[in-house]
Structures are given as C-alpha cells and as structure tokens.
Symmetry: D2
Subunit: 307 residues, 4 copies
C-alpha cells in the first residue's frame, strides 16, 4: 500500500492573496513547478503549508484545487491535523472525495496526551478514515513526542502506512527503523538537512520544505542517497546546507524557516509573499538579505545544473 510513497514529497507552501485568502492560480502554478521538478508526491496542509492558520474554507479550497491541478500525476497527501477529531474527519472526507491518496495527522496539540491516550487517538482516527494515514511526529509544535513503542503499536493498524518525523532526532528515527517490523511502512524525515543520511540508513524519503523552491536539488539528492553516490551527496549536501543557513535563519524568529521559504518563493516568482495570520512576511530589510542570499545560492545551483 505505502510502496507508492517514497522519495521527495514537499510540504507545499500555501499561496495566498492576503493574510487569509487562497490564491487559486497560485496553487496551479506551484503544483506544476513541483511536478516539473520531479517530486514523487505533494503534501498539502502541513506545517509548512500553515494549515492550522487557514480558515476551513481555505483548507477545503486548497485540497480541491491541488487535486484538480495534480491530475493524478503524483500522489497527493493531505494534512488533517486538528484539535477536534470531527474536523479532522471532515477534512479527510473531502480529501477522499477530491482524489487524495493519503492523509497525514499530528497528535492533537492543545491538550497534552499521554502515550496510551495518543495510541488510542490514532487508532480510533485510523479506524474512522477511508484513506490511509501517515503519523506525523512534530514535538516542537505539539508538545508530545510519539514514543517508539507507541509508533510500533500503531504500525500494526492496517490503515496506518507510514510516519513522518520532524523531530530532527535521528536516534529516534533509527529506533523506529529498527523496531517497526513491517516492510511496507514508510518512514519519512522532515528536516531536509538530514534527508540524505536517513535515506542512506534506510529511510524512504523526505518531506523537504526547500523543495518548494528548488525541487530538482532534493530529488537529485534523494537519488544520490539511494545510489550511495557520495561524490554527488557531498556536493548537494553543501548546497542544501547553504539554503538552510542563508534562507531559514534570518531574523531570529521561531518562524524564520517559514518566512524564509515564502519570501524566497516570492522572489523566485513561485507565489506571493503573504503568510497567514498570526505569522507575517519578513520585513523589507530581511527580504533584502533573502534576496542577496538567494543570488549566491542560485549561482551555486546553476553550476550544478540544478536550476
């Protein structure tokens, strides 16, 4: 079932016309940009997509528009993360009707659950879903880290087909890899800086935010890691780290990464530079930094024929 899920599945940024309104044309544009870049799937309504900041109307529109524009060229994964399971199920129903291939959910993120409660929540959710479910470990936002034991127990549900880990903790990732006894269970990593090494050590791919900007780079890196091509890995890793360093750390916000991705995307003509409230785009002086840094990055990517 999850065999189809591997490689680079970017967490698609959400194109907006203001700090709340969806940009329908922007959705078409970015979907084509990603597929032209060779990505293996598209994930909407994740953290990078600012899912929980959007109105439900905007979330529903985004699901439909993305499905419409993908036209089944690559798998579509839809985030249904919510504090209310009823609203998660509503989004999942629409995702199914729109032709999505799987849904993705973090733990509920207001009340702090224990591991047993987390297990019961996910098991219940998976029972009630008609699409397969990816678990999404995101402790910095949700205040809870799914234990390896909980993940192992959940991996036995036939409708739970994989896990995306955004903890950046590869000890945890390796423990999952070792402990989950199911060959068709897909393990994806969030942070792009460690996508190569997790694939080298048995991971199935990356949900890499930078692929919104330069999809080919991350696709090539995934392929190099699968092929154990260390010469290429070394070159591309430097470029991936350059992007993370020059674009995601401006301004010392907790959301510098999100502001950086969207700011750079706007300079590359991929979408407007609006973030949904409560986040805001970079200030002008910060955008000047992004602009200058982007020029450096583009020079290096051109040298490697990656743009």
């Amino acid at each position: 079932m999850s065999q189809q899920f591997k490689g680079i599945i970017p967490p698609m940024i959400t194109p907006l016309l203001s700090n709340s309104e969806l940009d329908f044309k922007g959705v078409e544009k970015i979907v084509n940009h990603l597929i032209d870049g060779g990505v293996h799937g598209i994930f909407v309504l994740g953290t990078t997509g600012e899912s929980v900041s959007l109105s439900y109307q905007a979330r529903r529109d985004l699901i439909e528009q993305t499905a419409l524009n993908i036209k089944k060229r690559v798998p579509l994964l839809v985030g249904i993360t919510d504090t209310s399971i009823e609203e998660s199920l509503n989004l999942a129903t629409l995702a199914h009707e729109s032709g999505a291939d799987a849904v993705v959910a973090t733990p509920p993120y207001y009340f702090s659950l224990g591991q047993e409660e987390l297990f019961e929540y996910y098991w219940d959710l998976a029972d009630r879903l008609t699409l397969p479910l990816f678990l999404y470990n995101m402790p910095s936002m949700t205040k809870i880290s799914m234990s390896v034991e909980t993940a192992v127990r959940l991996s036995k549900h036939p409708n739970i087909i994989g896990l995306k880990d955004s903890s950046a903790n590869t000890v945890y990732f390796q423990a999952l890899k070792y402990s989950i006894d199911r060959v068709d269970f897909a393990l994806f990593v969030g942070p792009e800086e460690i996508m190569a090494e997790t694939v080298l050590m048995g991971g199935n791919g990356g949900v890499t935010g930078g692929a919104n900007l330069f999809p080919k780079l991350y696709v090539k890196m995934y392929e190099a890691a699968v092929a154990h091509d260390f010469e290429t890995i070394k070159v591309l890793q430097k470029q991936i780290l350059e992007i993370a360093t020059l674009l995601y750390t401006i301004g010392k916000y907790n959301s510098s990464y999100l502001k950086g991705v969207k700011g750079a995307a706007s300079l590359l003509g991929i979408c407007n530079n609006y973030l949904a409230s409560p986040l805001k785009p970079f200030l002008d002086k910060e955008m000047t930094q992004i602009s200058n840094n982007l020029e450096k990055i583009k020079v290096h990517l051109k040298e490697s024929s990656l743009i």
Copy 2:
C-alpha cells in the same frame, strides 16, 4: 467597562451526549446550577470546557444555548481561542449576536510566536472584534507565556479589558498587578487553589473549575478574601485544597483535572460523564476513587453549609 467583571466566573464544563455531541438540556441544567450558586459570570469554551476539542457546530450551539439559558442574569464570556484568526472572529461574531458580554482568547497555540508577534496578533484581534477581549495566559497548553511587558502594552488597547492567568505563577501575577497602570483592567486567576491569595493581593476574581461542582464554596471564598476574613478563608481554603487533592490528581493523566471535574459532575447529577475526543472519561476504578473522595468532600461541605 470591565467593572462588571469580578468575582467567580466558572469555566463552564461542556455537557455532552457522546464524545462529540452537545447536550442541549445539560446546558440549561448547568447554567442554572451555576447561577443558583451565586457565580458572578459564566465563561464557556475555555480549557475546562474542552473548547478546541469540539466541532465548530458544537461550539456555535453551545454559545447560543448558554446565552439563551443565562437570560442576561450574569455576564457571559465566550472563548474564541483558535489557531486561525478567521475562525476566532467567526466565533466572536456569533458570540456578539447571541448577547455575550466579552470574549477570551489564548495565544495561537501551534506556531510559537515571539513577544512582538504575540503583541501584534492580539492588537489586530482586538481591533477586529466588536466585543471586549480578555487575554488568556495559558503557557502549559500554548507553549508561550505572555511577558509582563507585552501585557502592559496590550492593556493600552481600549478593547482589551482584562487578563486571565492560568500559569499558577503568582510572581507573574503580582508583576502584572504592579505594572498595568489601568484601574479598570481586570486580572483573573485560573487555579482555584490560589484564588484567595490573589484576591487578597489585589486580583479581581477567579475562573475556578471547581465552581462547576460547588459554586457556593468559591463564591464564599471570594467574598471572604475581599473582606479579609481570615477565619473563613482558613476553613474554606482547606476545603478547596481537599477538592483539588482528592478529585484532580487521580490516575496521573495530564488531564486528571478535566477527567476529575467531569467525573465528579456526573456523580453530582450535573451532567453526563463524556469528554470530547481526544480525552476520555475516567475508567471505572478511577470513578470509584472519585466517588469515595466525593463523599468525604460532601461531608465537610455540609458541615460548612456549602451544599
């Protein structure tokens, strides 16, 4: 403006018919129970009301039904906490139309804002609201503690009329009291164990969860604190701590308090023992403990003529 807000304003538990469906008759029952107990206001859709776990339909129904049943006998405060400002505003509009007196909002709780971003978020929200706003500091759930400086800056917005602090940190509470230079700015405290002392030191009242069970106890304590009646304070504080100790610490869940309030409320005939997903009611053996402990508490409350 906020002069009307003082005393005991319980965070009303949400009566349910299942783990998702609102109990309309239950709303009537608990509203009357609280008003009969002498409370000075009612706050729906707070943490104790499991707000973010409810579907939006249930939240809307709850607002309307509560307003309908209060019939303007006491002020109604409505929680509009959300990760999406659009959805907060939708709830606020309905609250206003239903006759509510104020709204209450925690910071957005998925993305971690900085203090400046938090200030801008609240200022923007207050600008767009038609009802007055209470800030709600709830760091254990939202991952952010509003700084004293941010609260001081926000207190200058004419539409922001008070703050409810659930941090349990009274150094913070005293710093707010000292720093906010506006006599009509209302400071409420969350944890009932420290309601008396914060009122003694200048606070305006408490959003005390235990008042769902025994409203008279907390109303009497508020009055004793206002009157500096230490003989009464001493007696009642023992009972308030007995309730917290015997009802809120069973089972070592993060949500032992919520399970305890609702479990005890069901035994007292106030509402059913359903919690909204992802939380669940206490197990049978835990309910046996609650039942036994409740008997002890009732003996003591009867001795003080508080039930």
Copy 3:
C-alpha cells in the same frame, strides 16, 4: 526543632575580591548589615550566593567566616547543594563544626532523577547528616520539581525540618501546606514578590534576595503579613515590586536578578560588584540604569522610613 526557623532569612550574596576570591572583610560587613536590618536568620551558599560557582576553598572559608561573624545572634543555614553527595557531606560537616543550625540542599542537578530516586537521595542524605536539613525546590536550575507526594514522604524524616520553594508556583506551595501533616515543618518561599501572600496563607517566611539590600523592608513586610495589616502590606508590596521591576530585569540575562542584586549592593556600599565565573557583573550602561533606578527606590523607601 524548626520552630526557630521563620521570618526573613536572606540568601546572602557572597562578597568577592575578584571573580573567584572571597572577601573576608566583606563577609563581616554584610552579616552585620543583615542583622542590623532585623533578619531572622542568614542562609549562605544558596543560588543568590552563587554557591556552585565558588571553589570549595571559598565555600569553606565563607561558612567559617559567616559563622564567626554571626556570633550566634541569628540562626545560620548553609547550602550544601552539590552533584556529589560526598562533597555535600563534607560541606555539612564543616557547617556543623562551625556552629551552623541547619543545612539546605537542592536535588542533584546534572543527572535527572525520578521522584522515587529523589526521595531516596534525600532520605539517605538526611540519614547521614548531623544537622537538620531543609529541602530546596528549585526546578529552573535543577530540571526537577519535587512532587508534593515526595515532599510529604520526606517530611516524615525526623531530620528534615522544612522546605524552601523557589518555583514561584503557589498552587504547589498551597498543596504542600495542605498535605504536609506536621506542624513544625517550616515552609519558606523564594521569590520576594510572593512572600506576603504565602505568609498570609500559612507560610513561615521568605528567603528573599532583596533583603541583602534592604533587610528592614522585608522584615516589616513579614510582620505586616503575620499581623494581617493590609494597609501596610499594600504600601510595602508596591515597594517590593518596584525593586523587582527596576533592579532584577535589566539586560534580559537569565541572571539579571543576580547581576542586579550585586550591582545594587555595590552601589549601596554593601560589597564589591564581582560575580563568580561564569557570571559577570553588569556592563557600565546597565549599571547606570541600576544606579538611576536605585535612586527612585531609595526615595520611596525613605518616605516609608525603611532606610
């Protein structure tokens, strides 16, 4: 046994001649300053005393010199906090030989213990001590908060006579007060901003850092709280909060409080402005702020005849 411990027991700052060398004459000076101010005891080698930053030679000298200068006029409490129980015991032996009245210890603060391990640690320590022991809850530094249950169990050891809580969480403090069934068990609070309210609610006193600067202010506040004299409490609380606001929050360091107390003490002629490595005194511009703020504070204290 602990009946003798009540009131204001300042956590004495450690006078230094450099960032590591003890100022023997400074010890005499500050001891007399505190006793002249009416304090009910002196606590050396606490957090405010920068205990763990000092060499063991300096710690030993400080114990001996303080005892020598106190001359039994008030009780002496000695901090023996350490990650090595052997070194704690060495300090305790010297404290006893020097004439100290009790010792004080936080949990070990490198390895994170569980509650059962914490209980065993303290029980073992108390067994091996010849002086009575105060528990010291200091979660921000030690990464562990002693549970109420652990404190209750430890309160049954005949050699454990009290607890100092620096958590700032008065829900916790009230739970201790309610749960510890021993009239001669002394509960002290750390943060001076909440000393009055904890004494009003049954606490035994405060380990107030500001008493290094203005001992009379905190002694008067303690007396006012014991007497339920709210007129005085209101006036003094404003001054106590003014001190905390104007002296302890400069420069946004984690150690702004420590830098502020020592900086102000140096301006008041109480001791030199050296902090032990790794901390450093305020920069010149920060000292200018402290100096200006101190003038304001002194005007208000003079109006109340407190200096």
Copy 4:
C-alpha cells in the same frame, strides 16, 4: 593538532567498589579491555563516567590511574566539566601532569547562560588551559544548547580543537559541519545509534557508550562507515540498535542507559555494578532482563565474530 582525535573514543564507565569509592584494579581492567578492542582513544569523567557524582578525590585518582594504565597507547581525554571554573582548572592541571592529551567540558550546568556568556566562558577557559579543549554539547543535562554561531566563534580559538555533540539532533550536527571552517576541527557524536550516519556525512567519530561493553563492534562500524561499506553497516547497525533497545531502555528511568551499561558491564566481568550516588544499580528483576537480553546480543555478536 586534533588530527590525532578520530574514531571510537569511549566515554569510559568508572569502576567503583561502592557507591563512592574508586576501584583501582577495575580501572586497569577496563582500560585494557578497551585498548584490546581497538579503540582510538579513551575519555574519562564524561556523563557515562558519572563524573559529577564522584568526589574530587575519586576524580583525581581516576585521572592518574587511567593515564598510568593507558601508558600512551592511545590518547586520553579528561572531562573537566564543573559549575566552578576553578575546579575545572584544578582537574585540567592534574590531567596535564598525568599525561592526558586533551580535556573536555560541557557548559556550566546550574546557572543558565546566554550564548554570549557561554562564548565568553569557553574562551576564557580555553585561554587558561594548557591542554587543548573539546567543547561538549549536552543540552539534556546542562539546559543549554550551544548555538551553531557560538560554536563557529569558539572554533577560532587555537586551543579549542573539537566538539562532542550529544544532542542527538543531526540537523545541528550537519549545520556545525557546514559552518565550521577549519579542517582540523574534530566533530564527534555522542549517541552510538547515529555514529555511522554522522561519519558517512563527514563526522570524525563517536564517543559511544556501548564501546565499554563491545569495543570491537563500534570500531568495525566506524571503519565500515569510513569505507562506505554498506553491507557491513547494515549488519552492524542492527546490532548497535539491538544493544540500545535491549540494554538501555529497561525500567523507564532517566538513567536507564547508565544503569544498563554498568549492569551489562558487570555481567560481562568488566567491572562491578555500583553506580555513584545519586544513581543506583538496576534492581534484581531488571538485572534479570539485562542478563537475558545480553545473551541474545552475544549470540548475534558471535555470529559476526565481534566478541
């Protein structure tokens, strides 16, 4: 300078005769066990060595005895982590006199420093040391994570020659690798589960606790990673994860890893099963689990000729 530091440098467990007394003969035994296993260096007085729990006498004895037994066969690194810089320097002096090759220090771990203060602390320490210094990032114990920027600035000090990262966060590790512009700056990783992948991605080796038990396994893994020998990596990674899973997670203590290493070492005849206070060895039933699990591990290691 740091060219000599690479490969497997185990954080040596400290052999004890009780919960406080050093086992001199045990030191000889384990030193030879490690060197016979092919390790590239030995690190004493780290977290695994329970450094901060030992009396200073025991620490001094351990430094001397280890140096005496190594007889310059491999480099010796000595932990000088302390809350008092004076005591760190005392240990460093003895380390130098005993013939150690480098010292290692975490940040001070009682007071929480800011990044600028952390920079100044380490720069000052490096200035005053006569041996080269390894930085040691250990946020779970010290409450502070050294920022990449701080590490970059510190890497410019000629006496700071490397960094050991125990954060388990490989995004951080990759950022260090990318940002530190000095070829002879050695980057070591703590958790053994991710040693292979960090070496594949440019790391210099591992400070792997499990090497106390099975040094050859980790040495072979290091060599396989350097050689990009994925067939071997796959086999050994499974064994490394089996050890971590079966030996380090018994009993749900924060210190399960430490208890597990020492418990297993005692069963393997490497040293006694004493931990320094405040930690304690596993209970009997937990040791039974360790014993059973160890048998499974040994079967697998024998199959691979690693014991």
